[in-house]
Amino acid sequence: MSSTRPPVGVLAPIGVAFDSVDKRYERLFALRQFSLNIAPGEFVALLGPNGAGKTTLLRMAALLAMPTAGKIRHTGERTGGSDVRRLVGMVAHHTLLYDELTAHENLSFFGKLYGLENLAARVESALADAGMASRSMSLVCTFSRGMRQRLSIARALLPSPRLLLLDEPATGLDRQGASWLAATLHRLRDAGCTIVMSTHRPGELLPLATRAVCLSGGGLQKDFRDPSEILAALSASQEGG
């Protein structure tokens, strides 16, 4: 993979605070009285069994879902004046990519929507960084799951988000892809970008986290701020799930 990397706008990371948040889907509570303050620059691993509320939490942080009760605030220097959506990137369960467009067209399309400057260079750089340069003109529908995931990550990073939300980002990635993702997140973390990542797998990603939050049944179960406790937390959460 190329050493050329998309610019990382991390001068002013933003955080997100959940204040007594409920999220209900009909009768089912996905989150119940959930409070959590993620400070700018933290790398938080969200742990917990399926249905614990991790994806709901990430979607609410991305402003894709509104709380049924309670408040969500994005904190940090640049949240007052600009549209906070410009500062948030997300890798979701789905790829958020258009199958009928090429890799290059997908990134260019989203880059234009974010009004990015030097878009052509940034798209080329992002594709090269994700190891997709040779397939940049191929339709996404021809890609393997792993290639789609890499492109999905490249799409999320393209606007240089200050808050990066990752929902099982290693899904479908092979060992090389997982190493690339770990290196990318390492670089972003060191540059001060706020990262919130849900994961089931310890792999290469979890040791990067500076904080681990265990969810269970839509509530906060444990909050580990000591990195040495994080792997133990994962083991505990897997036993629970």
Partner: protein
């Protein structure tokens, strides 16, 4: 970024994707032609009957073809959850809706561009003298159809039975539009054609009311 520029960027993507696959266009055109041809077999209309029945048959074909075409408008965004990606981008909900409305308008107009001359031949209704006015009526009627249809496609996109739900929601709402469009078209199919201003004004009013409502409700419509 301005809403207009964002809308144009999304419109370009819609057009690029559709003209690459032509899935919607081909299906819509073939379906509309089948409806018109089947009606002609069923009624075998002579010229006077064609003047009387033609406007209704033409608009029924457009309405059915439109409701078929509008279904995938948001359903296609569900496949990879690309609607979430659009909602996360710093663009307004109305820009997303408007891009889809304009794309649908272009697709349905293209289908009508093929449909109307074939209708002319099959039903023997002389349209050459009223081409401009008919185009205006078709444009207003089609705009009303795609504005309303796109809004209801957004509403029904997350429903489990969306393919059935959209026509059930849409067709009753479109009844006034259908009546006005048929009335305006019938006035152009008459022996001495002259555009009925009442129906024409109603069509324009319908479009304005639903466009304004979609502008006001766009963010709510696209919410989870």
């Amino acid at each position: 970024m301005s809403g207009g520029r964002a809308m144009l960027i999304m419109l370009e993507r819609e057009l690029r994707a559709e003209f690459r696959t032509r899935e919607l266009l081909n299906t819509t055109i073939v379906f509309a032609l089948i409806v018109v041809i089947l009606f002609s077999f069923a009624f075998e209309p002579v010229s006077s009957e064609a003047r009387r029945l033609g406007p209704g048959l033409l608009w029924i074909a457009c309405l059915f073809a439109g409701s078929l075409m509008l279904n995938p408008t948001f359903a296609r965004e569900q496949v990879n959850d690309t609607l979430s990606a659009l909602r996360m981008a710093p663009v307004s909900g109305f820009a997303i809706l408007a891009a889809k409305m304009i794309a649908n308008f272009i697709f349905l107009s293209l289908a009508e561009l093929i449909l109307v001359p074939i209708f002319d031949v099959l039903y023997n209704v002389p349209l050459s003298a009223v081409t401009g006015r008919l185009a205006l009526v078709m444009a207003l009627g089609t705009a009303g159809l795609v504005i309303t249809g796109t809004v209801f496609a957004a509403l029904s996109a997350r429903a489990r039975m969306r393919e059935l739900l959209l026509p059930l929601l849409l067709l009753p709402i479109l009844a006034p539009l259908l009546i006005a469009a048929v009335g305006a078209t019938a006035s152009l199919f008459a022996e001495e054609p002259s555009l009925d201003r009442t129906w024409f004004t109603f069509l324009a009013g319908f479009d304005i009311v639903f466009l304004t409502a979609s502008w006001l409700l766009a963010d709510y419509l696209l919410e989870e």
